[in-house]
Structures are given as C-alpha cells and as structure tokens.
Symmetry: C2
Subunit: 220 residues, 2 copies
C-alpha cells in the first residue's frame, strides 16, 4: 500500500496548493466561505435552506452543492432563489479544491458576500480536503447516535463548529449531549458546539449570531 499512500500524499499536497489559491480568490472578492459536512441524512440541505432564508436579508449568498450523483439538493437550494452550482463527483466521496476552483467560475462571485459549500454526505473523506474555506461546519444528527465523534475523530477534530441537528427528536433517542461535548472538546478544544432543529427552529438564532460573528471577523 506504500504506492497508494505516496500518491495520496502528493495529491493532498496539490490540493493544499489549490485551496490556497481558492482562499486568495475569495479574499480578493471579500467573500466569506463555509464548508458544511456530515453523514448522509444529517439534515444539511434542510439546514442550508433555513440558513439561506435568514441570511439573505443581509448578505448575498451563493452555493456550491456537492453530491456523488443527482441534482436533488441543488434543486431544493435553488428554490430559495440564490445562485447554485451542482458538482457531481461521479463516485468520489468528497469535494476537493480543484472542483471548487472550477465550480466558482459559474457563480457571480463579485455579486456575493457569502459562499456556502455543501460537501458530499460523508463523515470520513471530506475531513482532510481543504477547499480554501474560512470555516468548517459539521452536522451530527440525534438519530445517528452519540458515539460518532469517538468513531470518526478526524472530522470532529477538523470542524470549527459542530451543529447537533434534529434536537427535536431527543425525547425519542438515548443521545447523551454531554458525552458528545466531552469527546469533541477533547479532540478540538476550540470547537463551538450548538444545538439546532429545523422542525422547531430552536437554535437558529444562536447559529446565525455565531455565523455573523465569523463573517465579520474576516472583514465583511
């Protein structure tokens, strides 16, 4: 497997270089970019639709939508009225910086303040692929179970913000929030942990405040 590791390292270092170029492009356009990751079915697209509805009064938003196949999510996002580009990875389990570099040429970057990247539903692969984003957000939904940070540590170590989603379902599941917080803080002491529900809208105020603080940090 030595050959595989060597090629993988070469590809990852190329990815880092392109991610840096992406970041320079984003900064030159005063664009704040965040990357949303999770397992399939954690609620990324619903969360993004609700986030866009609340952001677009203040910020001009665009979206890059990553999926292995289909345009299902891009169609849902485009119903909010914001520009969206679909990237189909054709089998790959994550977006990479080159896919983003190409995708953003199809967006009116000069007319945007915030770019959201919805990554492929996957709790493993996207963790090590920087895209040039300012912020990495990971979603963990209550039905997935509280053991996920122990089992997929790279993702939870990489994310700046952990959003516990579908918290309206807490009464139906044996999900120990304190356990998740303890493990995630151990992996990543800086991580911010928030709770959210796209049914009751609990937590959206706090999430939007946090997001806006991050947007302001990079100078918009």
């Amino acid at each position: 497997m030595g050959e595989k590791i060597e090629v993988q390292e070469r590809i990852l270092s190329r990815n880092e270089a392109i991610a840096k170029e992406n970041r320079q492009l984003f900064e030159s356009r005063n664009l704040f970019v965040f990357n949303v990751m999770s397992s399939p079915g954690a609620g990324k697209t619903t969360f993004l639709v609700e986030t866009i509805k609340r952001l677009r009064n203040k910020y001009r938003v665009g979206v890059v939508e990553g999926d292995v196949a289909s345009r299902v999510d891009a169609e849902r996002i485009s119903q909010t009225g914001v520009p969206v580009v679909q990237v189909n990875t054709g089998g790959a389990c994550h977006l990479d910086a080159l896919m983003i570099k190409k995708a953003v040429t199809h967006l009116p970057l000069d007319e945007l303040d915030v770019l959201i990247i919805e990554n492929v539903g996957n709790l493993v692969c996207p963790a090590e692929w920087n895209l040039g984003e300012h912020l990495k957000v990971v979603l963990l939904s209550v039905p997935e179970g509280d053991d996920k940070p122990v089992k997929y540590p790279q993702m939870f170590a990489a994310a700046d913000i952990l959003l516990l989603t579908k918290v309206d379902l807490l009464p139906y599941f044996d999900f120990r929030i304190e356990e998740v917080e303890k493990v995630v803080k151990g992996l990543n002491p800086q991580a911010k942990i928030l709770k959210i529900s796209s049914v009751t809208y609990e937590g959206y105020g706090e999430w939007l405040n946090e997001l806006e603080a991050r947007i302001k940090e990079v100078g918009r």
Copy 2:
C-alpha cells in the same frame, strides 16, 4: 487526476484478486460471509447484535468489525459472546480485501458457520470494494431520508439486500417507502428490500428467513 485514476484502478484490481482468494478460503471452510454497509448511525451494530442473538442458536457466528477508529462497536458485539476482530482503518473510508484477509487469521474459521463483516459507516466508499463475501447488505434508516438511493446510487446498485431500518420512526418522518423501492429496483432489479425495527423487532423474522435461505444456497 489521471495518475490518481490509474493508481486507483490498479489498486482495485489488486483488491479483486485478494477478494477472490478470500472467497476461496471461505468456501474451503464452508463459511457463509456477509458484508453490512450503511451511513454512520443507520443502526448497523444494533442490527447485528439482534441478528447474532437470533442466529447463534443454529449457526456459529464470528464478526469482523470495521471502523475508522475506536473499539466501541467491537465491544458491543463481543457482549453477545461471539468472537470478534476489530479492524481500524486509520482514516480509510472502507474495508478492503487485504484487511479482511489479515483479520480472519485472528478468528477460529474452522469453528464458524457464518462470518459477518461490519464495514466502516459510509454510503460511498465501501460500494466498490469486494471483500470476498457472498452477500452485500445495505441499511438505510428512516431518519436519513428517502432520497439516499438517488444520491448514492453505487451503493444501492451493489447491494443484494436493502434493509430499511428504524421503521418504528416512520410516523415522525416524511419517508416515502414506494419511492425508495422504485429507485432501488431501477438501479438493481434483483435487490430484495425488507423493513426492520430494532425497537419493535418488526421484520426480524423475515430478515432471518431471507438470510437463512442465502446461507443454504451456498450449501451449509
């Protein structure tokens, strides 16, 4: 990306060769092997604990437990009393045939009838990695949403059996079973689709009957 694809193909074809060796080993031991795949949190481990409880009266069962990190699942499985080997992939998003070849040297194969492989929680990567198994089972849980077969077609095309899990939660979710059945049958007309709940135990009888039919097909 040509280099990556070329190396990937070489690695996949090596994997196929080792998978064939594994299959020969399994056949020589009269061992029936099935590979269980799903997103993180679809309920694989709970499902396997319940399956093992029902199988072990009739068959001697062993388990290979695949995870990116941790021994959480192996510990849960070993409480059933069956032999279990943990494989930590250390970042890789799937098991491969070589990992299985090595792992099974730690199991008393001559004393087993059925070997269960629990793959890494991932709806993308494990699909194209044969392990030498007789049967591929994919779990899709109700909370993940009914759009998953459209968005992750490779996995649903590869699986022999689709188990819809957590069906006790159907009243709380807008999950169209007919839609899933239609898409999966389109991807894979031979696929068998079953519904199951590890809370109410609905569907376990049918699943065990189906599994036993497959075990008998290979001659045990």
